[in-house]
Symmetry: C2
Subunit: 652 residues, 2 copies
Amino acid sequence: MDAVNKVINEDLQKERDKCKFNVAELTAFLDGGDKFTQKRREKENRVFSIQGLRDAVPDEYMSHKERYENAVRKAVIMHQTLGTLEDKTLTEYETARLALRATTSSAIFKENSPLMLHYSMFANVIEGQGDEKQREYWLKKINNMEIIGTYAQTELGHGTFIRGLETTAEYDPKTEEFVLNSPKLTAYKWWPGGLAHTANHCVVMAHTYSQGKSCGIQPFMVQIRDLETNMPMKGVKLGEIGAKLGFNTVNNGFLGFENHRIPRDRMLMKNSQILKDGTFISSPNSKLTYGTMVYIRVSILGTMANTLGRAVTIATRYAAVRRQSQPKPNEPEPQILDYVTQQHKLFIGIASSHAYYISCFWLWTLYHRVTKELAVGNMDNLAELHALACCLKATTSADAAVLVERCRLACGGHGYMLSSNLPQIYANVTAANTYEGENTVMLLQTARALVKAGMQVAQGQKVSPSMAYLADQSKMAKWDSSVDGIVKGFQKVAAGKVAACLASLQRHTNNGQSAEDAWNLTSVQLVAASEAHARVILLSVFKSEMDVQTLTLSGETRTVLFQLVQLYTIYWALEKVGDLLLPTTTTTYSVSICDTAMRCDGWMDETSLFEKSTIQTSARTGIAGLVLSGLVYDSAVYPELVHQSLTSWPLQ
Amino acid sequence: MDAVNKVINEDLQKERDKCKFNVAELTAFLDGGDKFTQKRREKENRVFSIQGLRDAVPDEYMSHKERYENAVRKAVIMHQTLGTLEDKTLTEYETARLALRATTSSAIFKENSPLMLHYSMFANVIEGQGDEKQREYWLKKINNMEIIGTYAQTELGHGTFIRGLETTAEYDPKTEEFVLNSPKLTAYKWWPGGLAHTANHCVVMAHTYSQGKSCGIQPFMVQIRDLETNMPMKGVKLGEIGAKLGFNTVNNGFLGFENHRIPRDRMLMKNSQILKDGTFISSPNSKLTYGTMVYIRVSILGTMANTLGRAVTIATRYAAVRRQSQPKPNEPEPQILDYVTQQHKLFIGIASSHAYYISCFWLWTLYHRVTKELAVGNMDNLAELHALACCLKATTSADAAVLVERCRLACGGHGYMLSSNLPQIYANVTAANTYEGENTVMLLQTARALVKAGMQVAQGQKVSPSMAYLADQSKMAKWDSSVDGIVKGFQKVAAGKVAACLASLQRHTNNGQSAEDAWNLTSVQLVAASEAHARVILLSVFKSEMDVQTLTLSGETRTVLFQLVQLYTIYWALEKVGDLLLPTTTTTYSVSICDTAMRCDGWMDETSLFEKSTIQTSARTGIAGLVLSGLVYDSAVYPELVHQSLTSWPLQ
């Protein structure tokens, strides 16, 4: 954070001087407008000016306990600084837009805040599932920090499969109470952030019974600790789950119940209710609770964009200042950024970060539309939104983890040091592969929608807009290396994979397999089809949104942004060259892409495509400039490059 | 380590009962014979019976300093237990063979021992580069622990590029001393294990000058700390480089010199010498020092096999005991090992671990042959060995890191917990991507040899055995899905990529680029060609060595081992389907693989290939049995599965 006062490394300064586009223009574009950039910086300046938020000793030298205590200390300061800061000049929509680019917290907590769940899931679930009286009562307490809460769904033995949750809540009409129990060890709640030592309240998802009958999984507000002593309440068993790859300061815990009783009004009753006499009134539509889950997946796209952006900024700066080897005698060692292999590792990370921002805002807009539709009872587009959020969450988080790790490795041994912050960034980003819906499960959810759409297409029915390309029976006579041509190729690939899955499912059921076993036997291909669909969406949205959104930008800025679009598209064409080529050599896809006669005739020339991808080289200044000019991340915010061991390490 | 006394999880026991092959037979096969299994277990039992080697508090809860102190404590016990244990019943060759399967240390130190470098590089370099007198003098002190040492080559600003090292050693004939200096911050030695607080001696690589002339990079034995006080010697600046992703207990340090003087005889003089008057006598062959470097890369293959084996053992056991979801109503939740997507993630890890063992022992045999040849002045096969070691080190370490991470992610959230030990295993394995030769640099070194061989082939000259396939001009008329057929396909791919590189280098030089710039512009393809060559070696060696070495094994054991060969081969055919298909659609490769007329006609049917890969399913019991039966790792050795937070977690 002292970086701004330091001498800038000469190589870094030279790179910045080469930048041809207007940095402020591009920053505003990414933030959503000058107003948002200003608001973001106001908040950042406010936080970063507080001396108490700086670590005297870096976290990594402390014990597990000390790290937590340090995080609590900073969380309290953060709350005092920002907690009551409600910006009346912004609409709710604008506040949410701003939040998708907010990274202040990640600059303060390398492994996140112990209050993370209090501000997010705990508040959200009461907002979304509490009735009016409950919302009013609890949200006030939450905002005032009278209580600290978390959200407990996952159990030691149960993750994705919600119906399998074993925690029970049985209604006792005599006392008008619910009795909570964890009948087995595998029923213990496991993972909630803040649960280990921080939270005193918790929303608990439990299998609910009344009048001897199951009422499904319902949410309950439970006080788990005494507000004075912080000791567990009677019949509540609590603790920490232990050290993890990352998120250590999030204070994840476990929670079990032994005949713990809570009043009837602690069940969140916006959707389903249990009346005093035990009568169960089920939710008019169980899908109404999808909202929060989908929103979190949308926000994960933003997190991936931000996190990958940080990693690739660090790695590109390092590549600019690090000099190594001497290919030409009597010349100085080159900046490693001048090695094409280095550019090949880094530039796709820059392009991907931008692709994820664009996709995030696109999906977020759709989310808003669908939320409004839901409010008036229209659920037409909910399935589409759900299918998109699942496969995009999985694909961007998987790719981002690979790309962050590539950035880390591109810094050689220095990337292995925690002072680069790259290992901690990886720990954060890889967690998104398993949290909020494990990626393989996510892809299989979208696959269900694709299979359904594939069958509808076969019957001539209309399908949702994002899957409409499945119905396109036109052939690609010639390979087209333009961005639109490659997107078209990916559509054919995805359509081919969906058709192959349908054929495989059919084959297995014809062979006497049950539908479930046929699904399992086809599941590797189903995952691949789902990923292919996500590629279609990411590539086409990046291109079409850029076309529309950059119209008012200057030519220089548009140029570099479209270099990113081109790089991203060609990169994936080369990565998936087998998928693009396969339909030219086999007839197993029921969607045939090109005529047999065309197959041999220069369908795709990898060499020429690769040469095109050396826009990487010709656009080195522009693309590297995106991060070297302080973009994506303001340099003041990211002190990771300052080597903690040697204060005079020659980086800015 | 208490695992053997615990009740075995029911699902795990069922899996083990299903195993059809003789576990002891396969263990002996991997160890290299019953004798080695027995020796290995003797050592393991000796170490694991020592109570003091168990951590009362797991490392991850301690501060950085406490972790180091705990590691020193255990290193001392380990030395007392094993340090003087020289097994006279084994030859030197047998001792080395045993070492390649040794994992005892990794069970005691999650992040390795602070004496790691003392036992390995420090001793090795004196063995390899000290003259007779030096070897006798120093090795005795090393074995008796009279001194503790490390090896310092890499500098803060200089890694792979040895000529760029900035530490200087200038000979002063007046006092018959060398004067060591670190002229700049970037000249500081950086990374040596044990250097931070443990070592009192160090072999330092320094740019050497005598009589005003450069004498190249030479090794020096330097006392860096006082043996009584452990304080740095005069003119020696020392410290710790800081926390890292892993290897934290290795105690990596930095080292700088300010006019530090050492006697002339501290230069290790087996190869080059500087006489009393300052006369420099250069080594008869600079390649003689390659030995240690190559040996370490050979041993990395073994480390990758061991480390991946541990990860996939943990993940497969987890998949056997974890039950999730309910595809069929009224049936219990299945073991997640029964999901084909899970098998797809794990089984390739089992196959790869075995492929790396086999490749390691094959390469090690070649290393021994070449070492013997070198001893009599024959350097014919040194370049071949070097090229093989470089690309195999890079490819196996890169693949192993991806596969370990896949294992970790396949355990969902539980893989994110340090109690699974998977994050720590990943930290160990990913380090191999950058240590002992950064992977991209390694692949480019092999690429140099491939380009040279490609040119020799074009001129009708003979090339080294491992590259002989480059000269094979025969066409593949039909795709052949057998293992040998796929290996043949990979040979065509590698040959095609080498030819494409030659064409690209030519094109760039024709366009007026210098040779160095043409190399840089082709470097991404050169890396790909080098990796393709490594695939040829890994696939063909796995198959051919298994053919030969398993002849005396029982049918059941051979069956499951050949399932691994087939799985490994088909997996890579599917991963690289684009490479295998490209030659059918373009004529840019100068090695044309098949006739045009053949190209369209069912060249490769991915679906049928995929169906073949579902040997995964039919061979589930056998392949999973490889690790579930306690193979690859004896269950007593790996206590990772015992969840530290909940002792009754239902795993063995």
